[in-house]
Symmetry: C2
Subunit: 150 residues, 2 copies
Amino acid sequence: MDSDARAAYFALFNEIGIISQLSRAKMEASLPDGLVLPHFSVINHLIRVKDGRTPLELATAFQVPKTTMSHTLAGLEKHGLIEMRPNLKDGRSKRAWLTEAGQRFRDGAIAAMGPDFGFLAEAFPPDRVAEILPHLRALREVMDRERDPD
Amino acid sequence: MDSDARAAYFALFNEIGIISQLSRAKMEASLPDGLVLPHFSVINHLIRVKDGRTPLELATAFQVPKTTMSHTLAGLEKHGLIEMRPNLKDGRSKRAWLTEAGQRFRDGAIAAMGPDFGFLAEAFPPDRVAEILPHLRALREVMDRERDPD
DNA sequence: TGTATATAATGCGATATCGTACTATATAGT
DNA sequence: ACTATATAGTACGATATCGCATTATATACA
């Protein structure tokens, strides 16, 4: 790989890293105290995909170490947003179920975040998102496969 | 903002967040123990831009709280990669200077990371990077301005 | 020049993130 | 069935990240 190519990847990941930070900070600003973005993301995932996921499935979906997901789930349970129950199919495992409070939390969070993204509507409109999103998905998938070639 | 638009932004930031995690993990894999990506990024910035930056300039450049940057700089100094000296122009301030070890560290890290990105050359080639990078830069700038409208 | 306000950096405490090691259960091969 | 290996989850410790409050210096302006 020549040094131009290397510089391009560095620049790409640099921008992505900073956008990630900024978007995270923005979203966390409208979450209740004690909850951070991964809490919201997991709840959102449990609704979008389906609850009853195992910790390991969630860790894989979010590409974080399983011990990190353990910690996040413990926080969600402490706040009464999910309930962990044993996995009947596998005695080693558990499953995460949304509580009613968890569902309400998600709706409230989305409503609260809406205005925070309003400024994007003009400066970076949805059609521009549509233009780059497929590339980002592709990049993510490439990196996923590299990390875990199953 | 309608719910389609909201979903588009969520999806965008979701992909960006995961790519950020994956790229960070990948790069950190080739850093010496005790050093994480922000350490490398700061050193790299000090070389690309110029050393003698103040902690606040660096915090702004990376969009992290200044207390985080303080911590990162302390780590770099502990490892002998930078040296903090008083800022002659402002008694409240300091400046970060690269040491020789810092310069060597950067070169070594870049060399070590090269192979880790090799897999991208085919699956996500530089011309594809070039295609999306301007959009990401624009998005970053929009978000920067929103955060701090100076 | 004196006083009020702004700014640069850090101290401290809370929590997040992650690696390593461990426990419990499942699965495979004999 | 028995043993070896693999897998799901957690305990624990180290460090990162961040918010809030504090200290020191600079700047504004009466």
